[in-house]
């Protein structure tokens, strides 16, 4: 297929390109003072085009509206799987590299179950998928989807398993079988939940496409290590009338990592940088293929699966299907996903200054930390959960964590001294003892010289603050 004209990359669109297609009446209905301001926000993806009421409501703007939609469409199609509040949006990526703007729609992680699992085992697994949760920077991170695999190849068994899954979880479902009869049995019971149909292949694409159209569900396309075939299939399926597609170029463990990473990268670059619409769909990674290495011990497979998942989270996977339900192997990837999908435009610093916890008095401890958001929230949560009455002086380290702030000279005796002074803490306590983070120990001498306060070197991790205070507060007068 020849791409007639390469569409402008999302970062190449200027506010002026957008402005020229807006009504340019400066009516203010979108909440911005003028159309240029709205155009700028549109380019930065801070507002939705639909906020421009005249554009949508007035017929004369019809063609401008569709041009704008086209101009601002992400190079990777956004596909919704599931319904209601647990529905996940997949893909919708605007850029290839996160520093170009930001990544949208954090990679959902689906965990598999099979239609041959005994009922109690299936229910136990679903319960664990539902309940595995971890609190990270005040957010709950968790698993997102359930993939039901037909290992039986029996429509009746698959249908029963899908029913059981549906009755025990609200999470979106992926129906996994290459047999259209089996798929149909699953869809008959699940279609109202808008499951993902996995997958159309070179052999079954017509039947799968019919099912996708009939039930109005998104369809995955599977062509292991064959991007040419993948493209041919998406071309065919688009012509066939299926719009919500996802691509699976195959995830290969061990020595297959080279081609796997290469395929994911080539697909994403073709879509984002060369405007190849046939590859402009979300990519599915299946780290659970690590489990096809059958004779290895389970910990090794969990480990290998986690490593594959990490590499694919970094390299463009928009959806992952995994098998291990072990917290130790899932947590690093749940956190990695949260990290990679953090908006690089948002500040990661909190306001420096004084924080007060509980009801401290003039004899209460004074602690110091950095203003990197994660450090601050971690320290705060440790103080609060331990019910400590104290003052916390947040130093302006320009958003660096303590260790890097000390190494990068953002937390110095001087910045600590300034923070103490401007916090007004001197008038709140009558002692002159300050507890600094263990990772800033090397600053103690200088801080004492500069401020006249005695320094107590606190723990290296704030989870030990309570234990530290028990041992060291009130300070022993020397």
């Amino acid at each position: 297929m020849s791409v007639s004209k390469v569409k402008k990359g999302v970062r190449e669109i200027s506010p002026l390109d957008v402005y020229m297609l807006l009504p340019r009446t400066n009516c203010g209905k979108c909440g911005e003072s003028n159309c240029m301001a709205f155009a700028t926000k549109l380019v930065n993806r801070e507002v939705l085009l639909e906020l421009c009421k005249p554009l949508i409501e007035e017929e004369k703007y019809g063609s401008q509206y569709s041009k704008l939609k086209e101009l601002l469409a992400p190079p990777i199609r956004e596909v919704v799987i599931g319904v209601g509040e647990t529905a996940v949006k997949v893909g919708g990526k605007l850029v290839m590299y996160r520093h170009e703007l930001t990544y949208t729609n954090p990679t959902p992680i689906a965990i598999d179950v099979t239609d041959e699992m005994p009922e109690d085992e299936l229910l136990k697994r679903i319960e664990r998928i539902n309940n595995l949760k971890y609190t990270y920077i005040g957010r709950t991170i968790k698993l997102d989807m359930v993939a039901v695999r037909s290992t039986s190849n029996d429509p009746a068994k698959f249908k029963l398993a899908v029913q059981r899954v549906m009755s025990t979880t609200k999470l979106p479902i992926i129906l996994c079988t290459f047999n259209p009869d089996v798929m149909k049995a699953g869809l008959e019971v699940a279609y109202e939940r808008r499951p993902l149909i996995y997958a159309a292949t070179e052999l079954n694409w017509r039947q799968m496409a019919d099912l996708a159209l009939m039930y109005n569900c998104p369809l995955a396309v599977f062509a292991p290590n064959n991007i040419g075939l993948l493209k041919s299939l998406t071309k065919t399926l688009i012509e066939y009338g299926v719009e919500d597609l996802l691509l699976d170029p195959g995830t290969f463990p061990d020595e297959g990592i080279a081609d796997t990473i290469m395929n994911f990268t080539m697909i994403r670059r073709s879509a984002c940088k060369l405007g190849d619409n046939l590859l402009g769909f979300p990519i599915i990674g299946v780290p659970m293929t690590a489990w096809s290495l059958k004779d290895a011990p389970k910990e090794v497979l969990q480990w290998k699966e986690a490593c594959l998942a990490a590499m694919l989270i970094v390299r463009y996977a928009d959806l992952l299907i995994m098998h291990s339900l072990e917290g130790w192997s899932l947590l690093p990837n749940l956190i990695l996903r949260a990290n990679i999908y953090t908006d690089p435009r948002k500040p990661v610093a909190v306001e420096p200054g004084l924080r007060v916890y509980g009801s401290p008095d003039e004899n209460s401890p004074v602690l110091v930390t950095s203003n990197y958001a994660l450090t601050f929230f971690t320290v705060q949560s440790d103080i609060e959960s331990a019910g400590i009455n104290c003052y916390l002086v947040v130093v302006d380290t320009e958003g660096y964590a303590v260790e890097s702030a000390v190494a990068g000279r953002k937390m110095t005796a001087q910045t600590v001294a300034d923070a103490l002074k401007f916090s007004g803490i001197e008038s709140k306590v009558k002692h002159r003892y300050v507890i600094i983070p263990g990772l800033a120990a090397r600053l103690s001498g200088e801080i004492e010289e500069l401020t006249g306060w005695k320094v107590l070197v606190g723990p290296r991790d704030s989870s030990f603050i309570q234990a530290f205070l028990k041992e060291n507060w009130p300070p022993k007068v020397s």
Binding site: D259, I261, K273
Partner: protein
């Protein structure tokens, strides 16, 4: 403080760490023969020509003329050309080159983003340097159990890291020279480095204490004593430049044939500034950059992005960023999730910890890092294996995963 006091479960945990290591080692040697068997199972799912009938609940949409066969589309790998190339840096020197190393390590030389192997695989594979400390320091238990016999003996530790962990080189952190700790003298530090150079045949990285003034003295002394060995001095900073210490260190490095690691705190403008200052003294092939590694969960995304940006800018032609990079990946252990007991559903932490370090490394591997300074043997082994696998283009057998949907686990 990083290490917690041993609990009742200590015995059990100590077993699992080395066991995993054995497992990973053995597993690396298993051939993939058994996977091929699955190709035969493919037959099972070849679909029958079923006519699908629409259910009453959802009537079919009316769609115009549908294709009856696959419409062919061509795919061309999206190859790009780059103006820039990363400088190649050699660490270590053999006898014929003026040193005593039996193995030298070359890094850099890339002319494409990290592992865009459809364009070009990195000409020199990324390498792993194991961290060695010259005195007892707080270590997470998951690491300590692998090195407890060699703590306090940097030469033995270095040997263990090379022989048993498979490190390509070692970084000796001269923590004892810190004026706030033992304040060991530059000549004591030099003796330690000499011992390590005798104990291992691989190149050596010399880590300072982080005190700019003291590091300058220590680096100068070691540059002299290790003349010709092409060690890497880790690291110099803009603070050293401000304090007027940079020139003398860089001159010593040049005079005695060493490499310098330039550390900046996640800021490419500062990285460029420091490199410009170093160009006054050193050839470009003697400079490596440390752009700061934050732990997974504690700012890894900034490290990832600063490395990705640096590499893309270098390839686009920014000569001041055309240097290989080094990552203090051991920083991964600064994340409490790497070592803290979190509740039974997240255990065992003896696996979670090394995986934390591994994931931190893998993330930066794909951003273009050339040297990984690491600690846990399982993390080192995994990264090495992944790097090896990333070169094995064209080895996949599509049939090996074609029926992943129905594999029985």
């Amino acid at each position: 403080m990083v290490e917690r006091k041993g609990g009742a479960d200590e015995g059990a945990l100590i077993k699992i760490g080395p066991k995993l290591l054995d497992l990973l080692r053995e597993f690396g040697e298993i051939e993939l023969e058994n996977v091929e068997i699955e190709a035969e199972e493919l037959e099972i799912w070849i679909p029958s020509a079923t006519v699908v009938t629409p259910p009453a609940a959802a009537p079919p949409k009316v769609v115009p003329a549908k294709p009856m066969e696959i419409l062919k589309a061509e795919f061309e790998p999206p190859i790009q050309t780059y103006q820039g190339r990363i400088v190649e840096v050699k660490l270590g020197a053999t006898r014929s080159e003026g040193g005593t190393r039996e193995k030298v390590v070359k890094i850099g030389g890339e002319a494409a983003p990290s592992f865009y192997i459809f364009e070009e695989a990195p000409p020199n594979p990324p390498v792993i340097s194991a961290d060695v400390f010259d005195m007892e320091v707080p270590l997470p238990r998951a690491i300590k159990m692998h090195v407890q016999d060699v703590i306090g003996d940097p030469a033995a530790w270095a040997k263990l890291a090379v022989d048993k962990f498979g490190a390509d080189l070692v970084t000796v952190h001269l923590v004892s020279t810190d004026p706030l700790r033992k304040d060991a003298s530059p000549s004591d530090a030099a003796k330690t480095i000499e011992k390590v150079l005798q104990a291992v045949k691989v190149p050596v990285i010399v880590g300072g204490s982080g005190d700019p003034k003291k590091d300058a003295e220590v680096f100068k002394k070691i540059a002299e004593v290790a003349h010709g060995e092409r060690v890497m001095l880790s690291s110099v900073t803009l603070d050293m430049a401000e304090a007027g210490l940079l020139g003398e260190i860089a001159k010593a490095a040049r005079e005695h044939g060493h490499v310098i690691l330039a550390f900046t705190a996640m800021d490419l403008n500062q990285a460029k500034e420091l490199n410009r200052k170093l160009y006054d003294y050193l050839p470009r092939d003697s400079i490596v950059m440390d752009l700061t590694t934050a732990a997974l969960g504690y700012g890894l995304e900034y490290s990832f992005t600063v490395h990705e940006r640096a590499r893309l800018a270098a390839l686009a032609g920014d000569v001041e960023l055309q240097h290989p990079t080094s990552s203090g990946t051991t920083n991964a252990w600064a994340a409490r999730e790497a070592w803290l007991k979190l509740g039974s559903e997240w255990e065992p932490r003896e696996l979670r910890g090394p995986l934390w370090e591994t994931v931190t490394a893998l993330t930066l591997l794909l951003a273009g890092v050339d040297i990984f300074m690491m600690m846990h043997p399982a993390a080192i082994r995994t990264l090495k294996e992944v790097i090896g696998n990333l070169y094995k283009r064209g080895m996949v057998k599509p049939e090996s995963i074609a029926d992943w949907v129905s594999i029985k686990i």
